[in-house]
């Protein structure tokens, strides 16, 4: 299928002008104590999604702010039609504050508190009533033709093997360039997994300030391992990476950096921050798959490309994740998890460019409504990068 079939895709225009590729009603628990009730609401009301997490209380300073920004980013992501913010009542991250920030986007937002609604069952009933109305309103919305320049595509690799840097990551690099050339935004992340490749990215920075930030975030990430007195290799590359032939973090990083294509690096943004520039941007996240994914989706990515050599089920409750296998044997053994196969490059039967074209065509289909494997299996992963202790 050629990219000419998708000069545009079909998306949902939101009140703030941003464009969604999905139309979810999000039940957003601001505190771990409310996650079970939130999940119950999703079982009662079609068209709703939620996520389980361990955060939202006894957090301070920059760690509090990062979690707050992530909650708000999940709610304001344009794939979400409306939000029921579900709190317990006494937690640090107040549902009302989170809802107030999300409301600035102009989308429907309501607050439900377990303590104010007479406990779990009262809160579930109230939340479900609100969600049912939102879900019907959402379903009345029509998709419209949207230009690719309105897409923010997150890129990620997880469960890497030695093929990641040879097949799927360079193919995603081709797609990253295609998105950028059409006026869109591609997010590169996983700061940990760019240690050893930072000079290549810094050389592509649009100015000295961005280049300096590249070295700063790399140094900060590397210093976390040094401060712990450990070899970072005890955690990354992982045992599966090593089994797949990756020897050091630097080797993994050089393969991971291939996802960034060849275009200039426009800016370096914080975890869960919405990009302020179009083009290639770098979000400062750890290499942890779910924390990275959550950061990019909270930063407004409507779609994520995820390459894997070992195979992973990863998905997001609100953004479709297109899973791309780096090798054919894994693609065939984990077919219910993987969407596309880039192993054809290693097999010598398809070019990197051709696989890139296939991935781009799939973005057009998925952005217009085609479900990914992770969505079909309801793989609703969520995890916030914590940068401070709990008190």
């Amino acid at each position: 299928m050629s990219t000419q079939n998708f000069p545009k895709f079909w998306g949902y225009r939101r009140p703030d002008g941003r464009v969604g590729v999905r139309n979810h009603v999000l039940i957003l628990p601001t505190i771990t104590c409310a996650t079970q009730a939130a999940k119950q609401i999703t079982e009662l009301v079609q068209g709703t999604v939620s996520f389980i997490h361990q955060h939202g209380c006894a957090q301070v300073g920059v760690d509090y702010e990062q979690t707050f920004r992530t909650y708000v980013g999940m709610g304001t992501n344009p794939n979400v039609y409306g939000v029921v913010v579900l709190g317990l009542g006494c937690e640090t991250h107040q549902a009302r504050s989170v809802a107030g920030e999300i409301a600035k986007s102009g989308k429907p937002v309501e607050v439900v508190s377990i303590q104010d609604h007479g406990g779990t069952l009262g809160a579930i009933a109230q939340g479900a009533r609100i969600a049912a109305k939102m879900a019907q309103d959402a379903s009345a919305l029509m998709r419209e033709p949207i230009d690719f320049s309105e897409l923010i595509v997150g890129t990620e690799c997880g469960g890497s093997d030695a093929c990641s840097g040879l097949s799927a990551n360079p193919a995603v690099g081709v797609v990253s360039d295609m998105i950028v050339d059409r006026g869109g935004t591609a997010i590169l992340a996983e700061t940990t997994e760019l240690i050893g490749a930072e000079h290549l990215l810094a050389n592509r920075a649009v100015d000295e300030r961005v280049a300096k930030r590249v070295y700063e975030v790399i140094e900060a990430m590397e210093n976390r391992a040094i401060a712990m007195g450990v070899d970072i290799r005890t955690g990354n590359p992982s045992p599966g990476n090593r089994k797949g032939g990756l020897t050091t973090l630097e080797e993994k990083s050089l393969g991971a950096a291939a996802k960034a294509g060849t275009r200039p690096l426009q800016e370096l943004i914080e975890y869960a921050q919405v990009p302020t520039k179009k083009g290639l941007v770098w979000m400062d996240t750890p290499g942890h798959d779910i924390e990275q994914l959550t950061g990019m989706v909270a930063g407004g990515a409507q779609i994520v490309l995820f390459t894997s050599g070992r195979g992973t089920p990863t998905g997001s409750p609100i953004a479709p994740v297109i899973k791309i296998a780096t090798n054919t044997p894994m693609f065939e053994s984990m077919t219910e998890n993987m969407d596309l196969n880039a192993g054809t490059i290693v097999d010598g039967i398809e070019s990197i460019e051709s696989v890139g074209q296939r991935i781009f065509a799939e973005i057009g289909s998925v952005a217009s409504g085609k479900l990914t494997k992770a969505e079909i299996l309801k793989q609703y992963d969520f995890g916030i990068w914590r940068i401070g202790p709990t008190f």
Binding site: G196, M228, I232, L254
Partner: protein
């Protein structure tokens, strides 16, 4: 019978190549990268995705792949040796190499 093994060497300055199939110890492999070619007898069995040295690498010498440094040889490596965690160390994120002082 001549068997052709599938391998890839990313850049001519690299000192390792990657096996793209499982290759038995003792196999004679032919590695090509741009204008460079190597005929190497593998000392170890090399699994799909794993690396082997295309030239001898001295202890303490940088290991190069993608034309970039991926680590340092922690022992003498001969051409045809399996190159992995047993004979290569990372150079980055090495908190274990820094004297650890406890926070006050």
């Amino acid at each position: 019978m001549i068997t052709t093994y599938n391998t890839v060497m990313m850049k001519p300055q690299d000192n390792v190549a990657v096996a793209l199939s499982n290759i038995a110890a003792g196999a004679l492999v032919h590695v090509v990268c741009q204008d460079k070619t190597f005929e190497i007898v593998l000392k170890d069995a090399i699994e799909f995705g794993h690396k082997f040295a295309v030239v001898p690498i001295k202890k303490g010498e940088d290991v190069l792949k993608y034309g970039e440094v991926i680590g340092v040889a922690s022992q003498e490596i001969a051409a045809g040796d399996h190159v992995h965690v047993h004979n290569v160390e990372g150079k980055r994120g090495r908190g274990d190499k820094v004297e650890y002082t406890k926070l006050p």
